[in-house]
Symmetry: C2
Subunit: 332 residues, 2 copies
């Protein structure tokens, strides 16, 4: 059979119609796809680095300290604890599904996960190290040197490769197979009536204007306090710190709602301890809506269907330091 442009057009149309028939209404949230790993050695190296507290001055703080993969990729604290027990200025966002965000950090100051990964290592209030010292530490550990070579093909250990590896691991931290995604994919029994009512309200009330896409957020910066001002306990000014524009003050990256049941407390200052409170404040301040107790409960029930499959891997064993490894300095 000769394939004509018309045949192609008809085939494409039929395909679209079939998809349309299977999914009668386009949903503003799309399912999370499982991670596709193209360089497993790089991901394994990044996993070790993610868990390695030797990337901090104290030798005690790792990426996993504040983005704990046993706890929804967060530390479940209002704000995190940094070097010398310093109180962080802002709530640690989850690392889970962070690959779907338009930028990293609440103010989007890092364009991607690789750029983000270098931040906390050198932040005096967080891991309080320097990129140079982090490189020195890793270069002194023979097994790490071998793993960098194996992952990258050549010997060099530098901060670019360190953050590339950490980011490659973080790219795999997606949480497919939530009940909501099962429902999206056609399993109509995956959600109960209350949860479906909550999802309808979530869409009809306008929550979905910002919380959309695969991560149910992370696709835009929005002002915290649209209808009513938000009185934050955090000093963070948001997007204006990056753009220098006054119009961007209190604009923050919309957080993902995936696994939101696990990522309490909520908001950039962590002041909402419960999902009920977060939904109530969001309704009033962002949408000018006072949800009834029942409405609030339905939305919360829907939000809890967004909990997906959590990270599923073996605890890494870190390569030991050598006699040449610089000592950690926890109390200096």
């Amino acid at each position: 059979m000769k394939i004509t442009p018309l045949a192609i057009a008809i085939t494409a149309l039929t395909g679209s119609l079939n998809a349309w028939a299977a999914k009668p209404a386009a949903e503003p949230i799309s399912p999370i796809q499982p991670a596709v790993i193209t360089n497993p050695k790089l991901v394994e190296l990044g996993k070790k680095l993610y868990f390695d507290p030797r990337l901090s001055k104290s030798g005690a703080i790792s990426c996993n300290s504040c983005h704990n993969l046993s706890m929804g990729g967060t530390d479940n604290l209002k704000t995190s604890i940094g070097h010398n027990w310093q109180k962080g200025p802002i709530n640690s966002p989850t690392v889970l599904n962070s690959r779907f965000a338009l930028a990293q950090f609440w103010d989007g100051r890092a364009k991607d996960l690789k750029e983000q990964a270098g931040g906390p290592i050198a932040n005096p209030g967080e891991m309080a190290f320097t990129h140079e010292l982090a490189v020195d530490v890793l270069k002194s550990i023979p097994q790490y040197v071998a793993e960098f070579k194996s992952a990258f093909g050549t010997d060099a250990v530098d901060i670019g490769r360190i953050t590339t590896a950490i980011a490659a691991f973080e790219e795999t931290l997606v949480t497919p197979d939530s009940r909501f995604d099962k429902w999206l994919k056609g399993d109509k029994k995956a959600l109960n009536e209350k949860e479906l009512a909550g999802y309808a309200l979530f869409k009809n009330s306008g929550c979905v204007a910002c919380h959309n896409g695969p991560a149910v957020g992370g696709t835009s910066f929005q002002k915290m306090g649209v209808v009513e001002p938000y009185k934050a306990t955090s000093p963070a000014e948001g997007r204006s710190a990056v753009t220098g524009k006054d119009a961007d003050r209190f604009n923050f990256k919309v957080p993902t709602l995936r696994n939101v049941e696990l990522t309490y407390p909520y908001f950039h200052d962590g002041e909402a301890a419960t999902l009920e409170k977060a939904v109530d404040v969001m309704g009033r301040l962002q949408l000018g809506k006072q949800f009834t107790t029942d409405e609030n409960a339905s939305i919360v029930a829907f939000l809890k269907t967004l909990t997906g499959k959590q990270p599923n891997f073996k605890l890494p064993t870190l390569p030991p330091s050598s006699n040449a490894t610089p000592q950690p300095k926890p109390f200096e």
Copy 2:
């Protein structure tokens, strides 16, 4: 066939002779046996509790913070970091193979792992919580309540059950299959000449008088500084703090040498950064021997053959807090 006492005696004797024939010389170190898990639900619950920072006041310190299972069951710091970045008085010993020790803590003040597990939770310099608050937190988490019921058969959550579960998990943290154990079991190629020479020196020099048994230590309390006094940077007085006897001053539990390659820095004050230094100090202060550089290197080479199979399990996912869960207080 009728089994007579004589037949039993002959069978027993033959068994002994066979064992003796296979192992021509009795070795003072015995191989680590793999863990036998009789109550997997209890072990799984204990694993979650071991990784759960909600057993601390701050919500940030778990058992795994100072006994990190990615790092030989230690934190690789001279002394640990407690609540509010307090400097601990003593080096955190490894949890790996701790089941083989005659008692727990450097001064042996806990008779077993269960008794030990309750200590750091309530120690104001460590996790700074109370047993009552720890119980309140866990009782407020429905999935934990269900897991306690499943592991113990009834509903109660109390500190006895919490520490029983943590200890049951810790009992599984053994590290079989080191190269040295392979050699012990008959694989004569498992060690090279230098390592064998190191082991011979380790025995002939008297190290083995204290470092023996399956854990290569942990079987007695001994004075730190027998031939020459040891000038510790730690204020800890050792066993006398438990017994009240002046004769027990500076007596400490002999640490295990299993996985010693991973458990740096060494001694109760963590002042020996390298194995070479630890071997040198031990030789001089405990045995009155000055090992040559070659002898020291041989013993170090032998010690590195004691690294066994590290913990091998999936990172646990912790059950989320409920709205009723008491909030962590990191900055109070």
